[in-house]
């Protein structure tokens, strides 16, 4: 391996701030190369991708609308990842929240009561919690890998949603399209501004960030989660119950993912469809890491990923670039983030193979 890592005596503070920025710069460079590879002028492509979406009030609102589910889910995932538990099924919990909350909207359709929307949000969060607790309980009781079970449940949730919108919940007057009725105004998120889709859910995402800052930064339970994540043995000596922490971390992240799901359904989408997410649950994993598992960092990172979605849509229309390019860029971004995070703990040296001697080899 022509790379050698030398551990720093203490983590580099400068790199903690710089590493996400370096990762974004590297990803933009990769974006230019990829755009050139698919036959688009890189400068024009980058402008369409990353600058033009920032131009109008409509697109700025759209950016916030796309960022809020990402931020919300990622804040929950940060709680999980800090505790070193791997919930990678947020996409499934998002759908579970959308389904349970959506059920409430359908059940009380045409009542017009004020409590419909709060009830939906509550049930959305509850759906996410219950769906997230499944892998957590299986992990705590039986030691089953939460990574694999939470991911498998994503597929199950997608099939369940597909069944509901094609079967029992289908709009009888919807010309056989797989969709429910459009939610009535009492079941939709109020808009904040005219001339766009900015809705109250964006404020809830900000609220989630604020609560997470307090919870992770100042409470004992937040500290406990971090200790259990970094040094489980030390945590046990301190009397922390790591099983309870796993359940807690999953419940928190499930609640936020479920809430994001129902907000999306009650907000921009307005009904249940077979396809409710452009992969927010997975992109939020990238957001969590790009934000270095810090709620404020995640807020910024959420906008970066939202920009990639918005820019990707624009590029598809204006430049006929396939939407998959966005997914490639998201993957590249996560790689860059992870590689740059190494700079915090290590100095990286590139070796010339010839001059290397390996001590300790007989």
């Amino acid at each position: 391996m022509p790379i050698e890592l030398e551990r720093r005596s203490e983590p580099s503070r400068a790199m903690m701030l710089a590493s996400p920025a370096i990762a974004v710069v590297l990803t933009i460079a990769a974006a230019a190369a990829l755009l050139a590879a698919v036959g688009v002028n890189p400068l024009r492509g980058l402008a369409v991708y990353f600058i033009e979406p920032l131009g109008t009030s409509w697109s700025l609102q759209e950016l916030a609308v796309k960022a809020s589910p990402l931020v919300m889910i990622a804040v929950g995932l940060a709680v999980c990842f800090r505790a070193n538990t791997w919930n990678i099924g947020a996409e499934g919990q998002y759908l579970a929240g959308a389904m349970l909350g959506g059920w409430f909207a359908l059940a009380y359709h045409a009542t017009g009561a004020w409590w419909v929307l709060p009830g939906m949000l509550l049930l959305g969060a509850l759906g996410g919690v219950l769906y997230a607790l499944l892998p957590a309980v299986l992990r705590v009781l039986f030691g089953a890998s939460e990574i694999l079970t939470s991911l498998m449940l994503v597929y199950v949730a997608q099939f369940a949603l597909d069944y509901l919108v094609r079967g029992p919940w289908r709009d009888p007057h919807g010309f056989n399209f797989p969709q429910t009725v459009t939610f009535e105004p009492a079941a939709t998120m109020p808009l904040l501004l005219s001339g766009g889709r900015l809705h109250v859910g964006v404020l809830l995402a900000l609220l989630a960030v604020a609560v997470a800052v307090v919870f992770l930064g100042t409470t004992l339970r937040g500290f406990e989660l971090r200790v259990v994540g970094m040094a489980p043995r030390a945590g046990r000596f301190a009397g922390f119950d790591d099983r309870r922490d796993i359940l807690l971390a999953f419940a928190v992240s499930g609640a936020l993912a479920g809430l994001a799901g129902i907000i999306e359904v009650a907000g921009p989408i307005g009904q249940l469809l077979p396809n409710l997410s452009p992969g927010y649950g997975f992109a939020a994993i990238i957001v969590a890491f790009l934000g270095r598992l810090n709620p404020l960092g995640i807020l910024v990172a959420g906008f970066v990923l939202a920009l990639s979605y918005l820019g990707g849509e624009q590029a598809q229309i204006a430049l006929r670039v396939p939407l998959d390019l966005t997914i490639v860029l998201q993957g590249v971004l996560l790689f860059c983030v992870l590689a740059c995070d190494t700079l915090i703990l290590y100095r990286v040296r590139l070796l010339r193979l010839r001059h290397r001697t390996v001590p300790g080899v007989p």
Binding site: S145, I327, G331, L334, V358
Partner: protein, 303 residues
């Protein structure tokens, strides 16, 4: 005849799982957890199909699948070995990257069809009733997967290098102190795993179906990962698990065909639910005893 048809389809459904999981088993035995199997597999499916269309050769297509899987694995190796990055997150990144890249590469080939890989035909043997087609009438991939099974078993338990690889997986610090090249062995294991996943993907687009669709692996990479856990990192148990899963997949398809009034979506989610059940059962029965000691933990040699 009905049973024979089912058996044949079970084998074709199991083969990609077996190939991908065997590769991952070797990777995990060396102490590395590569969660990017799904990404490498779908890259193998896309690159394999494109290469097969362009060259007209199934074998070159399969080769391209292997190379694509290994190339993606090389990125993972750079991240986890070179930069000692978190293996879980790197594996997820690999999956995302693989899904996107495969879509880009295969975009112009959506809707194209080609003849699936030819099946073996041995005069006299393939025509035998029942066992003929099952034993002597499969395509080359199926035989390759069985050869891979024997090869991996032999390598891990009958060769010095295999012993060293397992030692590195259990305790890289001791292995390093004994002078073994931990990172080099892990690099080769990761590349092998990527090649196997790529081959498994190529099987999907070259033999299992005659076309390529975006995301056609549909979670098989993740099921392969679960199978490795199920196998307790022992190849022959892996084969058993792969064929059981193939059977579940095919059975649910047949039940859907009967039209028993069970929602098709429930049947389609059976393989995923079965995976969860199996993980629970096996984790409960075993505890953590059989897991390679250093699985998922980065190793940074102190030069």
């Amino acid at each position: 005849m009905f049973l024979e048809a089912i058996l044949l389809t079970v084998i074709t459904a199991s083969t990609p799982l077996l190939m991908a999981a065997l590769g991952e088993l070797v990777v995990e035995r060396s102490g590395v957890l590569n969660l990017g199997v799904e990404g490498m597999m779908v890259m193998g499916a896309s690159c394999g199909f494109v290469a097969a269309i362009l060259t007209g050769s199934t074998i070159l297509g399969a080769l391209a699948g292997v190379v694509a899987g290994a190339a993606l694995a090389a990125i993972f190796a750079l991240m986890t070995l070179g930069f000692a990055a978190n293996q879980v997150a790197s594996g997820l990144a690999l999956t995302i990257l693989g899904l996107g890249l495969s879509g880009l590469i295969g975009a112009d080939f959506v809707g194209t069809q080609r003849d699936p890989a030819p099946k073996l035909a041995v005069a006299g043997l393939t025509d035998l009733p029942f066992i003929g087609p099952v034993l002597f009438g499969e395509d080359g991939f199926v035989y390759a997967s069985l050869a891979l099974l024997l090869g991996v078993s032999w390598f891990l338990w009958r060769t010095r290098t295999g012993l060293m690889l397992r030692a590195i997986g259990d305790n890289p610090v001791s292995a390093h102190a004994l002078g073994h090249k931990v990172l080099r062995v892990r690099l080769l294991a990761i590349l092998f795993g990527g090649g196997c996943a790529g081959l498994a993907g190529a099987y999907l687009s070259l033999a299992y179906t005659p076309f390529w669709v975006r995301g056609m692996t549909a979670g098989r990479g993740w099921i392969a990962l679960a199978l490795v856990v199920f196998s307790s990192w022992v190849p022959w148990r892996l084969a058993l698990g792969a064929y059981l899963f193939g059977a579940v997949t095919i059975l649910q398809l047949h039940v859907q065909g009967f039209g028993l009034g069970i929602p098709s979506q429930l049947m389609s989610s059976l393989p995923y639910l079965a995976t969860i059940l199996v993980l629970v059962a096996i984790s409960r029965a075993r505890g953590r005893g059989a897991t390679p000691g250093s699985l998922g933990t980065p190793f940074v040699p102190d030069h």
